[in-house]
Amino acid sequence: MSRKNKITGYLAALIFLFAAWYGLSFLAQIPFLPSPAVVFVNIKKIFISDILVHLVYSLWRIAAGITASVLVGIPLGLCMGYYKTWDKLLSPVVYFTYPIPKIALIPLIMLIFGLGELSKIAMIFLIVVFQIIVSARDSGRAIPKETFYSLYSLGAGSLDIFRRVILPASLPGLLTSIRISLGTSLSVLFFTETFGTQYGMGYFIMDSWMRVNYIDMFSGILVLSVAGFLLFFLVDLLERLLCPWKP
């Protein structure tokens, strides 16, 4: 698909979604499904004064959680993919801990890290880091061994091999895992922001709900969705920038 076709496709989907929303709200005529037009007007009115601070808090938590996961998960996963002994030692640990529903650990996390920022970031980290480790390891493993041969014959050291082969070869896979992590961390974030804080999109949405202000609630949901979409788009942009060799 050409770029122009892609953009037209996205636009059409967007128009369809909003039309469906509008149609539903028009037919249902219930207070907890306001029309998108009302929500847009409300966002314009309260975005800077009421929503922005929550959005900044949420984005900061996501950025911190994912950055920490990437910094730990990528080197660890790539080493597991390249060095057999690392894989032998660590893979069983990852296999046993990966399927634990870590969201259930939130009481424990709060006991350890308190109610503040740290516990929210730790929660995102704990869930996302495993996804990143596993996909980094798999993309490291998937590199055909012949790819290393030219470097071996030139006498390249481990650093050169990591920098020139392992990292670039696994980059597309890593960016995909970051894309998946973004979706996960948005939902984890929403959950963790429903208590122990008065800031964050999760708090804003739940607070509007409790105040029976459905227009505010939908404004929050829409802003959070758009933020999620923009983050996805950012990763796409990053991929185009970092992987120019991809056809």
Partner: protein, 250 residues
């Protein structure tokens, strides 16, 4: 400069041990070119993997200038059968990989790099990525990489196989030209008898698997010039073919 004594390489397939090379002996003088021919699957590529330091799990003695095969110490140029290009580097960076790994400046080599890339018809496509190039172009990048490295020992695995007939002849001539300037010791593997006679000063004939070298011929036509116009060239190729057939059918 290169000496191989009793080289044996084993590998495992589904738990069973197979012999790839068995008691292979070989010698290469400084500045010599040796063509290695053999039936497919006889271990030609395995031999080059040992010489390039990729494969270190072998028994027997392999020395370069009296020392062990150590690509960190020695400059070994290797043109693998699958070209060995990095998908994420453009043609230019791929061709200069050798210099980069050896931490040598690109600037000092500028004119030579340009000369090689132009001669190999790569200058205009130097910013393209391997996925955008044809097999022949990729192969030429691999050759350019080994030329630019100015190696002490050059190893080539079917280096001209992906080129069309006319380009192949051009690049073979270019290879001989560059070789005459630098006289780098070269081992190259080929399945083409014509190529072996055209480029090799020595021609080593390998046995079917497990491979060893059964015969080493001095090529009387080496350096004679205009080979493709001479009858002796075709006669020698025929002789070689006949001899190889006998060796491989036993």
């Amino acid at each position: 400069m290169l000496e191989i004594k009793g080289l044996t390489v084993k590998y495992k397939v589904e738990g069973k041990e197979c012999l790839a090379l068995h008691h292979l002996d070989m010698k290469l003088e400084e500045g010599d070119i040796c063509a290695v021919i053999g039936p497919s699957g006889c271990g030609k590529s395995t031999l080059l993997h040992v010489l390039s330091g990729i494969l270190s799990d072998y028994s027997g003695l392999v020395t370069i200038d009296g020392g062990p095969v150590d690509p960190k110490q020695k400059r070994i140029g290797f043109v693998p059968q699958n070209y060995g290009l990095l998908e994420w580097a453009n043609a230019y960076d791929n061709a200069l990989l050798g210099l980069d790994i050896k931490h040598e400046s690109r600037l000092g080599q500028g004119p030579y790099i340009e000369y090689i890339l132009k001669q190999l018809g790569l200058w205009d496509i130097r910013s393209k990525y391997p996925s955008q190039l044809s097999g022949g172009q990729k192969q030429r990048i691999a050759i350019a990489r080994s030329f630019i490295l100015k190696p002490h020992l050059l190893l080539m695995d079917e280096p001209f196989s992906a080129l069309d007939a006319i380009t192949r002849e051009e690049i073979q001539d270019l290879f001989l030209e560059v070789w005459k300037e630098n006289k780098v010791s070269t081992v190259f593997v080929t399945h083409s008898m014509e190529e072996a006679v055209y480029i090799g000063r020595k021609i080593a004939v390998m046995s079917p698997s497990p491979g060893r070298i059964v015969k080493v011929l001095e090529n009387p036509l080496f350096g004679a010039g205009n080979l493709r116009l001479r009858d002796e060239y075709y006669r020698f190729v025929m002789e070689l073919r006949k001899m190889a057939k006998e060796e491989w059918s036993n």
